[in-house]
Amino acid sequence: MTTAQLSSPTTGPAKHPLHPAHTPTGQLAFGVFFQGVNSSTIWRLPESGDQVAFESFETLARTAERGRFAAFFLGEGLRLREHRGVPFELDVAGRPDAQTLLAALAGVTEHIGLVATQNTTYNDPVDLARRLQTLDLLSGGRAGWNVVTTDNAWTGENFRRGGYLDHADRYVHAEAFVQVAEQYWRGAPIAHDGAHYSVRAQGELPRSAQGRPVLFQAGASPAGQDFAARTADVIFSPHGTLEAASEFRRAIVERTVAAGRDPGSVKILPGAEIILAATEAEAEEKVRWVRDLQIGPEQAIALLEQYWGRDLSAFDPDGPLPDVPPEVSESGVTRGAGFQFAKAEELTRSWREEAAAKGLSILEFARAKSGARRGEFTGSYDAVADRLAEFARMGAIDGLNITPWLVPSGIDDIVDHLVPRLQERGVYPAEYAGSTLRENLGLPPV
């Protein structure tokens, strides 16, 4: 991708610049992702709100509605994260059940979609399908389900079936699970006999305004992509740079076509952190300030401890990376999916080399690592608007799922300064397209 190809953001959608089977809509949809548990939500500032109080969720959802966001997202983790065998103390932790909370939000919002991340391994499909349909009916067709597949036995310790699923079976199981849910939503009789259990049931609730909840999928492995291409309406992807997002679009279009579906029927929304200011210089300054607040000396040491698997508290956060080998057996197994790590030796060595080459301290290195995962949506209002318009024109993404670094005021500047600029550029809706989440994401009816 050359910079020449990336200029002229206002010329409208290009014809299949990424894949012949894909025609960009040139439009973006935003979601706001209230993660609840993570290292990016700053809790040290006086304006950081309560992470559990309903008013935090309500304020964020109402702001998002003012900015015509398509969706309000909640994350899920079914066991408190641990660090070296102890619940992790340094990040925000503790959140309400996603769907219970969304059922309450349905009554105080009007337009925004309500999306719950829910695991297929530790739920029962009919129970989950009924809850989601209840939410869909309560909200007038605004429910969504972000399908995730965490399978570790450590999480399973909280559930009847325990950690009964092999890693390789996650998506096989997830697909069967989603099929049962879809049968339930259609009101069809269900007679499922799977490897792990049997289900006999019959859907008994009426159809919602959007037919059924919108299916999101988050999970980027090839098996996850195949699963999404066959079953999902939206992929919540981790690929936020133009290059990675374009590659991912091509891969998903290939797979969607192979699955016999119209590639326009699977939208892609990468997770993103957006840090904005009036000028580029101010934005750069702000990014540094945000990173300092996100990653303090304690978090920096803890980040390394996850991979080293041992106590590193004796090391100076302002000094070089630890020159001791990792304790491989303890690394990273309890922080949940995404933190599992087998090649600790190799990784810690390469990190030491990287930090030494760049002259970074532990603290600087940890801040750089945490920022690098988050795509490229920091800068002045105009620069970010231009960049996003280019993403839309290319069709690399269909929108963003934004993780605010502050709750509940973390999207105020996006709504006040970025959204109007995107609307001026013709890539963001001025009004909600309809009353259902499906309509507001531009998805075909079911």
């Binding site: 109080a53 102890v86 309400p96 059940d97 769907q99 059922a103 009916l137 559930f159 289900v199 609730l205």
Partner: protein, 334 residues
């Protein structure tokens, strides 16, 4: 959490003797808590899809008419979701889903109910039901339990749910900017439940809710399946079922309450929503309250525990279940 305001004691001459003593049915205050007064009047709503139209208006109307609680019985839509939906749309009325303890994941159930308590600022309760319809276990791939097994399972689930509720101290979220500590693991504990058919490790993924332990009640209609141990010993109170589909004459209902013995909730079942439900409830409330047979309208901000005369539920730390025990043993070894 704000301390619940003690409810004024009922006037002695109007309170029937049957309800002045603290409920004997478990969770009995050992003299420390507020006195149990007359029961709270609840209206039962069945969660059929047709209920959705005008639901918020109906709930607010029943609140204004003086009902102290709503119970949500399963009619298709999920009762916990409907209760949660009503939480921000109402102000004082208590919200009790009547929902199954058996064919569910205890960890999810505990989290959902404590989330309801957060959403309603301490107005949540659980009307524990032990499902007898074979369609429910079939949907999760299980066999229907016989009466004895069902009673045992209900007791185990109730114990597990309470252990999850009691896994965070109220002050576990410390937000200590000096030390960079958001949550203090020494103020968390594992549930560490090992029951016959399941295990739950914990701690909760949700911080302690305003009431800590939600009041758990058993309706008369569920008593047999829930079993004597749950209904009589482990639950906090009994819900007396009053069928109003056959008419809502205050004299008949007053006699039923007086004859019932200690109850926490008087639950009106079968209220005709097509007729004049608000008028019926307002009239009943007037007549029953006049005789001191049901509790006064709740004061704003009081928890359901307070309204039921239950003592506050302090965090009960168990040193063996401390969530930071791995750190402690490392420190000891060093």
């Amino acid at each position: 959490m704000t301390a619940p305001a003690p409810r004024p004691a009922p006037a002695a001459e109007t309170a029937p003797t049957a309800t002045t003593a603290p409920a004997e049915t478990g969770g009995a205050p050992d003299g420390a808590g507020p006195e149990a007064g007359p029961p709270v009047l609840a209206v039962d709503l069945v969660t059929a899809p047709s209920l959705l139209e005008g639901l918020a208006e109906l709930a607010r109307g029943l609140e204004s008419a003086g009902a102290g609680a709503l119970t949500l019985s399963d009619g298709g839509l999920h009762p916990i979701h409907l209760a949660a939906h009503l939480a921000p749309l109402t102000e004082q009325i208590a919200l009790l889903p009547r929902t199954d303890a058996l064919y569910v994941e205890p960890f999810h159930l505990a989290t959902q109910l404590m989330s309801l308590d957060h959403l309603s600022d301490g107005r949540a309760g659980w009307l524990l039901q032990a499902e007898t319809d074979p369609a429910v276990p079939a949907a999760v791939g299980r066999e229907v339990l016989g009466l004895e097994a069902s009673a045992r399972e209900a007791a185990d689930v109730l114990g597990a749910v309470r252990a999850v509720w009691d896994s965070w101290a109220p002050d576990a979220v410390v937000r200590d900017t000096e030390r960079g500590v958001y949550v203090d693991a020494s103020r968390l504990q594992y549930a560490d439940v090992e029951a016959e058919t399941f295990a739950v490790r914990g701690p909760a993924i949700t911080p302690r809710s305003p009431q800590g332990l939600l009041p758990v009640l058993v309706a008369d209609t569920d008593r047999a399946a829930a079993g004597e141990r749950v209904a009589g010993e482990l639950a906090d109170a009994r819900a007396l079922d009053v069928d109003v589909s056959v008419g809502a004459r205050p004299e008949r209902i007053a006699a039923q309450i007086a004859a019932a013995g200690p109850v926490g909730l008087v639950r009106l079942v079968g209220l005709d929503l097509e007729a004049d439900p608000l008028g019926t409830v307002a009239q009943l409330v007037g007549a029953l309250r006049g005789r001191g047979l049901i509790a006064e309208a709740p004061s704003h901000g009081s928890t359901l525990r307070t309204r039921l005369g239950l003592p506050a539920a302090p965090f009960q730390p168990d040193p063996a279940r401390r969530a930071d025990r791995a750190r402690l043993s490392r420190e000891e070894a060093a």
